[in-house]
Symmetry: C2
Subunit: 418 residues, 2 copies
């Protein structure tokens, strides 16, 4: 069987399974999740053994330490997976929710019913825990899913998939609701993202290169973010202690995450006071500052920032910095250089906050809070399948609701249209 | 200037205008709409004169009568345009609506703010009234729009655009919030649908060929429907008089619309009774029935239906028909052959209605109502920019809300993440 035939078969199976999943009861879906949590714990040894094969291959192929770290499944990791599954089981089921009901002049009654998207294709790199997260979010939201993980994690992903499928079966749900692609051939990705007949949406997770390639080639809608160039703007009237604390948290909490602060903007009237404090706070973390001339006046150790620096997602201990003349200039800078992910202002002025929140065109716009909060768990979604910087469909952290759609339902008593 | 440079320029102007439109007050937008309604009426003669050029060219090029009909602007047409503008002015402004507000365990306050999509590209064929409809829906929802109408309507569209732009200007809004592409070069369409930097969404309106081409080539998200193969299923326990009346209305009210009934399904236990009644009701309309063997047993005049007939959108006095054994078979038929647009059941059984409404995977699923109701006006949206059969973002008739997105807004008091 060719790769494209194989992928076609997965698609047909997923479409059929999605029909059954769309009508599965909440009870049934939760039973599958409970079974999965139990089975993950019961099969810890088997999971770690499968993972050992991937780790050995990774060592042979000289994977970098960060990648090896993301690849590893530990006993604590299995516990965390099971805990995550129980958390998703505890979330409200979005499917079947009815909203916006009303009678219309014709006498028909119109409302919207929340329904699964159908078949969700997930493409990701080496983290096996994404296999669990993606599978359970799709399961709970009544979707079928086709998972295409990184080749480095193939054994781990297949071991997880086997456990997920057994759990589905135990709850009387179709095993094909969760399928893991068993080939590492890149043609499988192309087939998946172009199969508009059997796949309703693609969620790519991984590096910018992967996501750009998928967006360009896809014939199926893609929910994605390319990068997170997050800003914090310190306004004229900011509480400066708060500003320093928010910058420190957003920049140094974790460097490699998409909600990390990458670019600092400071109002010129407070730059002289606040920039040295920020430099002092960042000093123990060896964060390199790349700034404009005015920044470098107040932080002599700062390097010169290029235009590219202002558009960069560093994902490391580097921060660009610019002194601006007004909130309007800050907004313009963010809308021009930013990635539409998450941007924050520190201010005590209602009016400045209002303008910033209205005019910054990003998926999360924050006042007096750390950009690190842009996250499905922190937003109360329970879990997230990813973060979207698109404006279409889901925007910001995407949880169960982002994996659903709404259809109009109409009840009449024989009304005809004039 | 090359076509691609010209389109790039429109994009840059639209993006700049979109920033101003996003912060325009409801009052300002309504003032622009009021000015537009007045100016349309005041410029009736100029509009009709511009339209006369298009009509003359159309006659020279032997446009078919239906197309000439859609192209024509009459005095009544101008009145209707102005009336449509006043109706959109009266609709609630979706921009700035706040929903789902809550405090989270970290103490931050999270909510969603409804915001414009940004720049909307509309590609359509020969109907000049679409120019007004699209412009006013985008204006009211705070978007900038780039309109690319059919070459047959170029003079009409430019005359309308001039009036719209004068009205924007009168209200202190940027004229570039509404731009009409002034070239009929096809390269302009390609440039528009691939300009992801300046265009947020494309709404194509027109024939299936146009929409398929756009979907395939676009690098910008597309809100669309390809066709409307709408079904009505007459269940075992249907009120038969109601069934006949609904079929007659949905099939014969207007043949060329996407919510017209194209395919009838009848439960085998009532086929003998109801099919002859339907044949009799359709007889005065000369509707050709193409059916399965069982259909042809009860409607001897029916022709044999092919598989293609069951998947066809006839847009004319033709209807496919199949006798099925169960509601499940009807659902399977619809999900297989349908286009996900609008499908209806006629039944008196709660349970049959529930199963049909849950399991039919279409943008509108109706019980005991004519598929002709699937329409933005009938659904209370005031107007529609199109109908979407996609599952992503907007589904079904798309009005002002479908032209907006939501961003997360966070208020804190200096919270940092642990």
């Amino acid at each position: 069987m060719s790769v494209s035939q194989y992928m076609q078969q997965l698609g047909v199976q997923a479409r059929a399974a999605s029909r059954a999943m769309a009508k599965a009861s909440t009870e049934q879906k939760n039973a599958a999740l409970a079974a999965l949590a139990d089975r993950l714990l019961a099969n810890e040894a088997a999971l770690i053994a499968a993972n050992a094969k991937d780790l050995a291959a990774g060592q042979e192929n000289n994977l970098d330490p960060a990648m090896m770290d993301r690849l590893a499944i530990t006993s604590a990791g299995v516990q965390a997976m099971a805990e995550g599954v129980r958390q998703v089981a505890a979330l409200a089921d979005p499917v079947g929710q009815i909203s916006d009901g009303k009678y219309l002049p014709s006498g028909i009654h119109l409302s919207k019913m929340r329904v699964p998207l159908g078949v969700v294709g997930i493409i990701y790199e080496s983290r096996p825990n994404v296999t669990v997260d993606a599978a359970i979010l799709c399961l709970k939201s009544g979707n079928a899913t086709i998972l295409r993980g990184g080749k480095e994690a193939l054994h781990s992903n297949q071991a997880i998939a086997e456990i997920v499928r057994a759990s589905l079966s135990e709850a009387g749900l179709p095993m094909d609701a969760v399928q893991v692609v068993n080939t590492t051939d890149r043609a499988a990705v192309t087939a998946l993202i172009q199969d508009a007949e059997h796949v309703d949406v693609i969620v790519p997770r991984g590096g910018k290169g992967l996501i750009e390639r998928i967006s360009t080639e896809a014939r199926v809608p893609v929910i994605k973010h390319l990068d997170g160039n997050c800003h914090t703007f310190i306004a004229q009237d900011a509480d400066q202690e708060m500003a320093v604390s928010l910058v420190l948290n957003a920049k140094t909490r974790r460097y490699g995450v998409c909600n990390a602060l990458e670019s600092l903007l400071v109002h010129e009237s407070v730059a002289a006071q606040v920039l040295p404090k920020i430099a002092a706070a960042l000093a123990p973390f060896d964060v390199e500052v790349r700034g404009c001339d005015r920044t470098r006046h107040f932080i002599p150790a700062a390097n010169e920032a290029t235009e590219e620096d202002y558009s960069a997602e560093f994902l490391g201990p580097i921060m660009s910095c610019r002194v601006v003349d007004s909130v309007e200039q800050a907004i313009e800078h963010i809308n021009h250089h930013g990635s539409g992910h998450t941007d924050a202002i520190v201010t005590s002025s209602i009016e400045t906050a209002r303008v910033f929140q209205r005019d910054v065109d990003s998926s999360s716009v924050m006042v007096n809070a750390s950009t690190a909060f842009a996250d499905g768990f922190e937003y109360g979604l329970g879990a997230e399948i990813g973060i979207s910087t698109d404006k279409i469909h889901a925007r910001g952290p995407v949880g169960l609701e982002g994996l659903t759609s709404q259809k109009y339902v109409v009840w009449g008593q024989g009304q005809t249209r004039g």
